[in-house]
């Protein structure tokens, strides 16, 4: 090999190395900024959820404490009214019934917004309570099991996911039976909700639906979890949400 030829080879080799370094640098910086952006998005999502939950909490407490107390006072005043004739007694009784109905609705709305039971007794009890209230006027049978303990901060996110999924099922699926389990499998907490309803096309639902599925997807993303949704018209729906075990207590 001549001296010039070896110089050409060295130059080529250097060129290839430089190209390789430039490409590596390009890929590394892309990955670095991708991670930074993802972290920022997660931070924003966290702030949004925090704000949303705080606002829900405030409205729920206002509804329960202020409006609820006012309704109770109205009911008491109605009860103290003298029933001069049969017609007025009937009107007072009807009004009391209406107030009870409004108070019941208020309690439901307040519970939906911020379940106090979640703070006091934890996720398991809160979900049992939510299911019993959700299915009370319907004939839907819910089989619920929870064998995992989850910490307070993240139980609110899991509660919201379950709330959104169960609301979707009750509203749209025409299901008669729901199976809902929370278990720990292979270092993941698995939320599994399955119904025997009319089913739907998940892709079309994601494109066309309102906030329901999007909210679920956003919360799932926030928990760094994975959502597997299997459904097609006529086959019911199967929601599997795998949450990394780091979120566990």
């Amino acid at each position: 090999m001549g001296a010039d030829e070896s110089k050409i080879y060295i130059a080529l080799l250097t060129g290839v190395c430089v190209q390789f370094i430039l490409m590596t640098f390009f890929v590394v910086t892309i990955l670095r900024y991708y991670r930074k952006r993802k972290a920022l998005q997660l931070q924003k999502l966290k702030a949004d959820f925090h704000f949303l939950d705080k606002e829900k909490e405030r409205i729920a407490y206002d509804l329960h404490d202020d409006v609820g107390a006012s309704l109770s006072a109205i009911k008491l005043r109605l009860q103290s009214l003298p029933a001069t004739d049969e017609k007025s007694a009937l009107v007072i009784q009807d009004s009391e019934g209406l107030i009870d109905e409004v108070m019941e609705k208020l309690k439901r709305i307040s519970l939906n917004m911020m379940p106090r039971i979640l703070e006091m007794l934890g996720l398991d009890e809160a979900l049992k309570d939510f299911i019993s209230i959700l299915t009370y006027p319907t004939s839907i049978e819910v089989h619920y099991e929870c064998s995992v303990e989850i910490d307070k901060d993240n139980s609110l996110h899991i509660y919201r996911i379950a709330q959104e999924v169960l609301h979707n099922i009750i509203k749209h699926s025409q299901a008669t039976h729901i199976r809902f389990t929370i278990t720990e499998i292979k270092n993941n907490i698995l939320l599994h909700i399955k119904d025997n309803g009319i089913g739907f096309n998940p892709e079309a639902a994601m494109k066309n639906s309102g906030r329901g599925l999007r909210n679920i997807a956003a919360r799932v993303g926030f928990l760094n979890a994975k959502l597997y949704l299997t459904s097609s018209p006529g086959t019911g729906a199967d929601y599997k949400i795998e949450i990394p075990v780091s979120w566990k207590k």
Binding site: D4, K7, I8, I10, A11, T14, G15, V18, L22, F25, F26, T29, I30, R32, Y33, Y34, K36, R37
Partner: protein, 216 residues
């Protein structure tokens, strides 16, 4: 027309960006002041080199000083865009100064056309441009094609990539024929012309200062 004058015209096409910059200087945001200085510095060096060549003197010394100042201004510009990376830019400036001193005073003489620093600074600008381009790709919300930072980084990739390639031939002393070298210099001149036109576009698209209006 004599080929030398075509080279001169291609190199002095930076005048377009420099003139637009002069008119827009008062109105644009301060983030792009270093870029305007970079352009005016380029125009000054090209004119000085032309004057020296026309008076049959070497333009090597001023070019060697120019590339050092050019890198300093580019680093300052990138620092104004990424203020959180002060330590990185200081380190890069110190290393670059070391390489420049070594190339011009210890390995070679400042009165020669030295390629070591030119290759080094070209790669340095390439790396920083890649980093900034990727940052823009991920964090910029507006249209990138009308973003002056995007155009500047892309032009740097284009120009300094080619510059590093050309200067590498000088480092390896490959013994290329004068014909090949001539073609390479023509190509560099052409790349320079394209880069200068892109710089002019970038200067045109630099955002203006936002006026503060107090409404009563």
């Amino acid at each position: 027309m004599h080929p030398f004058f075509i080279h001169v015209i291609f190199n002095h096409s930076i005048l377009i960006a420099a003139v637009i910059g002069m008119f827009r200087f008062k109105y644009i945001i301060s983030d792009f002041y270093p870029f305007l200085i970079f352009i005016w510095l380029g125009l000054f060096n090209d004119s000085l080199s032309l004057a020296l060549i026309l008076t049959h003197r070497s333009n090597a010394a001023n070019s060697n000083i120019f590339v050092f100042l050019e890198l300093a201004v580019v680093l300052w510009m990138f620092f104004t865009w990424n203020k959180e990376k002060l330590k990185v830019y200081i380190c890069l400036a110190i290393i670059a100064t070391g390489v420049w001193l070594a190339d011009n005073f210890f390995i070679n003489s400042i009165s020669e056309n030295n390629s070591l620093f030119r290759v080094f600074y070209s790669f340095l600008i390439l790396f920083i441009s890649i980093d900034n381009l990727n940052k823009l790709l991920f964090f910029e919300n507006g249209r990138l094609t009308r973003n002056p930072k995007f155009i500047i980084c892309l032009t740097f990739l284009f120009y300094y990539g080619f510059n590093a390639f050309i200067e590498s031939f000088n480092i390896f002393h490959l013994g290329l024929s004068s014909n090949v070298l001539n073609t390479l210099w023509w190509m560099l001149s052409f790349v320079n012309l394209i880069a200068n036109l892109l710089y002019a576009l970038a200067v045109l698209w630099v955002p203006t200062k936002v006026k503060f209006i107090l409404r009563y």
